[in-house]
Every structure is written in C-alpha cells, then in structure tokens.
Symmetry: C2
C-alpha cells in the first residue's frame, strides 16, 4: 500500500473514531502506529483532537518522536498546554539537536524555565547547540555520538557499548579522539566486531577522516555526505575537537529544503517557503522580483511608442504582441530552467559555455521556425497578407531563438561570476526577453509592411 493511501486511511479511521468517541479503539490505534505516521496525520486534525490522541500515547519515546516530527507552530501549541514537568520529560527523550531547534523558537521565559528544569548535562548540551547559526553544521549537528580514546582495545570498546551509549542517533560509526579530544580517526561497529579483541582502536581506525567545521554551511555539509556516501559526518571546532555529528537523515531534509529554495528563487518567490508566512511578509518577498518585470514592461511600452505611426496605420499589428511575447517568454523559461538546474546538480559545467549556448540557440531556431510558420499561417488566414504572415513568422522565430539564447546565456554568465544563477536568472531573463521580443516584432513588421 502506498504511503499516501496509508496516510489517508489512517486519517479517516482516526477521524471516524473521534466522531464516534470510540476511545478504546483510538487508544489501540494510536499505540500501534509508527510515531512518524502519527505525526504526519496530526496536522489534519483539530488541536483538541490532537490533544486527545497525544494523551493516549503510553510510550514516552513515541511522544518524544512525535515532537521531533511536528511543525514549529504545532509543537509550540502543545507546549503551551502542557505542564513544565511533562514538557521536560518529553524533551529529555528527544535528540538534542531537535530539542535545541524547539527551544530556539520558544519565548525566552519558557525556554529558560525548561532549560532550568532539564538535567544539567542535557541542558548544557542544548545551550551549546543554541550558540550556532541555524544553517551551519553546528546548528544541525547532534552532540550524541559514540566516541572512544585511541588507546583502548576493541574488547574494551564493546564492553563500554554494552554499558552506555544508549541514546546515540547513529550507533554505527565510532569516532576516535586523542587525549585533547581532537578527532584522529573513525571506525565502525562492524570493524570492532571483526578485529581480534585485543587490538587497540588506533591500529585499525581510518585516519583520513572526512569532517566539517561547526561553521560549515549546511548545503556544503549535505554535498559532502552525498559525495562520499557516508551515513554521518563528524563536526569539529576550531581546535579540531569533536563536538557533534550530522546524520544522513538531516542531510535528506537539507537536500529537500535546498531544492525548494532553488525552485522558489527561480520563480522570484523568495527562498524560504512563503505560503506559511503572513500576507504582508509574502508581499515583501515577492514585490521586488516583480519590479524587474514591471521595468521590462515599461521599456516595452516606450519601444511600442516609437512605432506609434505604424500602429496608427495598422492597429491590428498589436494583436500579435501576446503570442510573440508568450512564445519568447516560455522558451526562455525552458532554457534558463534547464541551465540553472543543470548547474545546481553538476550536469552542466560552465566550461562547456559555448556548446550549451549554441545548442539552446539551435533548439530556439528550430522551435521558432515551427511556431513561426504556425502563427504566420493564422495571420495569413485572417488577413490574406503574405507580407504580414512573413513579418509575424520572422518575429516569432527571432523572439524564440533570442529567448533560448538569452535564457541559457544569463545563468551561465552569473555562474561564472559566482552569483547564484537561481536568484538572478528569473528577473533578468524575463525582462530582457520582453523587451527584445517587442522590439524585434515591430522592427520587422514596419520594415516589411513599409508602415
């Protein structure tokens, strides 16, 4: 059964049971459903219903897992309703990085009260994490990992694992530090099991450790984890002391976030997801991008003004403006999207500059020829003027080929200049294409028709 259907069925069953007040049934369902699934259906329920379900959960680990999955707004609503003791007991079962994220969005007063009430060790870890910027390795790392000194033996490490390390998120890698807590190696549970038990860790650990710094950008962290196919990357401070790890599940979230950012940037709709933001904030984000396109439109207005005399002679000329602008705009969007995404994923490299641009120009010429003939045929059928038909065809052809060319050129130029192509491409390409399309059209038509 697909995840989508499983979610839908779960939501429907829970709603039905809530309506029927079938509390014992609900309790059973809640306690046998995976925390991730439960968290996913929560947003579909009213807050009082969420409260009912949450109170039915018997296992504190599940409660903690749900808190890790909930949106910031939802978890804040829960915290407002719960006693401080309950909040703290749940937080103490959550991964430290999730606790820090949650504490970070609470009012200072509530945050302080919670931190004061938490066990000293956990509270200190949370406060340490709060020092780092949100979108750096420090901001996303967890301080819970398995670490050993380099001189202990495999057997001692296993014995220690059997006693402690219950709460680590990634119990697969073993990080190895020297006497000053500096990261010197990495090994795995698997190696621990395989080597003779008296071997000291430093004899079989890998010393070429891929690590990041606390201030490494999260996008860079994601790239590193993806590049080297590792399940977690250790995070070190300026003294190369091991302070945390970033696990692959957080990397998946980052990759999704970054894709969303790129998509929104290309559409000129900001970078953070604006739908969940207020109307005013959305407007502030979206207004500037529209300014570029408004500027392009006003320039096009003045260009058309130059051809006022021709328009007075043959007003119907104006009727082709939408199709010529539309075709140029759309093929330009195709080209720039392909290049922007190609650069982001590494499928396109700026060193192939000219071959990419020439290919797009070629595609623009062929598609422009096709649609030029099509729109020209419409013009001919309507006006029986072969010269008008040719003008319109040529205008579509030039608009589409220039648009494909510009659409590929602009992001490549930005990439070469080390400016994020996703941010800059949208407004530049749209504005340029609007202006060029209109100019080409009127220049060609007035010349051919001798208007």
């Amino acid at each position: 059964m697909m995840l989508y259907d499983r979610n839908r069925i779960l939501v429907e069953s829970i709603r039905r049971l809530l309506r029927r007040k079938a509390m014992s049934h609900l309790k059973k369902i809640v306690n046998k459903t995976h925390a991730a699934d439960l968290a996913f259906v929560f947003p579909s329920l009213t807050f009082p219903d969420q409260r009912i379900l949450f109170n039915f959960i018997e296992d504190i680990e599940t409660k903690a897992a749900i808190f890790s999955y909930l949106s910031e707004d939802d978890s804040r609503a829960f915290i407002d309703e719960m006693s401080l003791e309950e909040v703290v007991s749940i937080l103490e079962h959550m991964p430290t990085d999730d606790v820090a994220d949650l504490i970070g969005i609470l009012p200072q007063e509530t945050a302080d009260a919670i931190l004061n009430k938490m066990k000293i060790e956990g509270s200190q870890e949370v406060q340490d994490l709060l020092r780092y910027e949100d979108d750096t390795a420090g901001g996303i790392m967890t301080p819970d990992f398995i670490v050993f000194r380099e001189n202990i033996t495999a057997a001692e490490a296993i014995a220690s694992l059997q006693k402690e390390h219950v709460d680590v998120e990634m119990p697969f890698y073993l990080y190895i530090v020297d006497d000053s807590d500096r990261l010197v190696g990495v090994s795995s549970l698997r190696q621990l099991v395989v080597v003779p038990s008296e071997t000291p860790l430093k004899d079989f650990m890998t010393t070429q450790v891929i690590s990041v710094r606390t201030d490494t950008d999260q996008e860079e962290v994601a790239k590193i984890v993806a590049r080297y196919d590792i399940l977690a990357v250790p995070v070190v401070d300026e003294f190369n002391q091991l302070v945390g790890i970033v696990t692959v599940d957080d990397v998946i979230d980052i990759i999704r976030e970054e894709a969303t950012e790129d998509i929104l940037r290309m559409a000129g709709a900001g970078e953070e997801f604006v739908e969940t933001q207020t109307v005013l904030r959305s407007i502030r984000i979206r207004l500037p991008w529209l300014l570029a396109s408004c500027f392009g439109g006003i320039v096009a207005f003045f260009i058309i003004g130059k051809f006022e005399a021709s328009l007075n002679k043959f007003a119907y000329l104006a009727a082709f403006i939408p199709v010529i602008m539309g075709m140029g705009g759309n093929i330009g969007t195709q080209s720039s999207t392909i290049v922007v995404r190609g650069l982001a994923t590494g499928r396109i490299a700026t060193r192939n500059f000219w071959s990419i641009i020439m290919k797009e120009l070629m595609i623009g010429l062929i598609l422009g020829l096709f649609y030029g003939l099509l729109v020209g045929a419409v013009a001919e059928m309507r006006f029986f003027s072969i010269l008008l038909a040719i003008s319109v065809s040529l205008a579509v052809l030039s608009s589409m080929s220039v648009a494909a060319f510009v659409g590929a050129l602009v992001p490549l130029v930005f990439a070469k200049a080390k400016i994020d192509p996703a941010v800059a491409t949208g407004p530049f390409v749209t504005t340029a294409i609007d202006i060029i399309s209109v100019y080409c059209y009127f220049a060609i038509a007035t010349t051919l028709l001798e208007l």
Copy 2:
C-alpha cells in the same frame, strides 16, 4: 576548504602535472585522493588524460569506486578501451546494483561477454537485477546485505560476521528470515553487541519491519526512507522473500532526481534532464508544452481583434499590453510555484483549499494595487489622461489578482483530481493568464475611455 574549491584546486594541480608530464607526482596525488573526488574531476579532463590517471590507480577498490561514480558515457568509453579481463576484475569489486546499471547500458554483445566471464554468483545477481524496471525498488536495490536465520544466537551471528559478509554496502542492519527466506525481522549490529551472547535473534529482533516490494516506485521508496529516518529499507518479492535492500545514499540521489523532474516539469521542459540529450530529442520534449502557450497567444489575438475599432481610434493602447501581460504572468508563476512545491513537500494540503486561494488572491490584490498605481503613473505622465491612467491601473490590478488566484487554484484542482500538479500547472496557468489579462485590459480601457 569548500568542496568547490577543493575540486578546483585538484583539477588545476592534475592538469598542471599532466602538462609538465610529472608522472611520479601524478601517481602520488591519484593514490592519495578519495575515489569520489577523483571521479568528480574526471569529466574535466580529456579522455586520454583520464586513461593516464586511471592506470596510475593501484588499488582495485578505488578503480571500482570510480566506475560507480562515472557517468554512463564515460564508463562506456573506458570499457571500450580496456581488456575484458580488466573490466571484469573491476566490476567484481563494484556494488552489484551499480554493475547492473552499467551492464544495462552496454551493447548486448559486450554485456554477455562480461557476464560470462564474471564469477557465477556475481553474474547471476546482476542478471537478477536486470529483470526489474529502472525506477522501481528492484531496479535500485542491492542484493548484498547481512541476513541470518531467526534461530541462530547473537554469538553465532557475530562469529559468522567475522568470517564472511565482507562486501555488504550497509553493514549496520541485520535482516532476519525464516526457513523459507521470508523476511520476519530486523536487528542491528549494535543490538547484537549489547544482548547476552546466547540469545537467539528472534528474541530481540524487531518484528514490525518496514519494507517495500520489488515493484514499488523509487519515489515511494525515497519517501519511506525519509519518513521513517532509516538507513536502508529491505525489498521483498511477492512471496515476502527478502531479495535486496535500498540504501540511504541511493535515496539521496533519488530525492535530487525527483526535485529536478519537478523543476523541469514546471517549466515545461520535460522531466528527464534534457541538456545531455540530442537537439532533436530536446525539441520533441519541449515542443508540446509551447503549443499550449501558442494557443493562448492566438486566442488573445482574436480577443484583441474584437477591439479593433477601439485600437483604430487610439493605437497607443497597444503599448500597455506587454506590461499588463508580464505582470500577470509573473505573479501567476510565483503563486503556482509556491503551491506546486508546497504540495510536493507537504507544506500545503488540499484540505486548506480555500484559505490558500484566498491568501493568494489577497496578495494579488495588494501587489496589483501597488503596480497598478505605478504603471498608471507612467501612463499619466506620458498622456496626461487621467481616464487612461485609471484604465491601465485597473487592468494591472485585475490581471495580477486574477493571475494570483488562477495560479493557486489550478495546481490545487489538479492535486484534488490526483493529476501531478507539476506537469499540468505550467501550460494551463500561462495560457489562462494571457487570455484573461488581455481581455480585462481591453474591456476596461474601451469602457472607461468610451472608445
């Protein structure tokens, strides 16, 4: 140092050494660089230079890793140049899923020759994998994993790990099957180490195993791994027999691929990355999407035709078409992008249908008011006609608010109808907005100006 800089420096050093024919230096660099980094610089080098570097690699594991990372075209070029023995020896050190992907793109003859030469077991595994569709769990899984029968003890499992299982990709989860190879549980290396050594696996394994079927779509597999924060998901056949696992590093690649697909679909540029495809294939993919926009332009043409008489009286009216269409088109793209991506990431749910649409409409009205006044002011400054200024302002206002409304409405309607909003939204929104913008403008202007 950023990955980007590290890559650049590596490429530059290697190129310099190649120019200087400093072979012993090159050999040193090649053998101390991570295979992932080497593979990343390979596409920046000419094929003969790639051959030189590749031959310098001493470790067959590194050669195999590079093959796993190389693009299909590059690895095919290498295979063409190498002896069959060399190819087979490298392939035998690669993960079976990567071997199957590679074999799948080779000419039948070469593929058969390689499979015949491979060790029987490996060759059989590869052929088994080739049976599955590329974008299903079967097509991306690896048949190398750790599996035990449910009755053996922890100590026996550890002893067995010390002898075999050298080649598994995810040596963290232990999968547990019954006597008919049916998946019955999962455990971890960590639990194996922690439990008393005489405990049989079935006493501590987790029996609620999240698994997928061989025919599960890869996007669904990625969602499951991401949802449950697991490092690998077991793949079972129709008899619930364990046949493979999909690991989280493959899931990362899928998530990237799917984001690319969504971005390209929204821009009407196909779903597979077209830049690497031939001009003709690109055209075939991009042509149909442009058809919708061409149709919209032609409808706009006929609408303007209806207002020919007004245009004959005041030709300059046409000069505002670009700015009105452009502003409508751009805000419509913002709204539809936000909704499409919001639906894809789960930030927006179709059950909030009306609140989302109303919010977008509100944003469209406010931004429309702002830009309407701006464009109206330009009209006033140029023509000193307050009625024209009002007409243009109203046209911008109505075009932008309708565009925001339609841009939000269309993807939500498609999502409710279970049609992928990313595919359908682009052409519909653009076409509708072109037509509506032009109509509103002329209807308002001719009424107010009594043309």
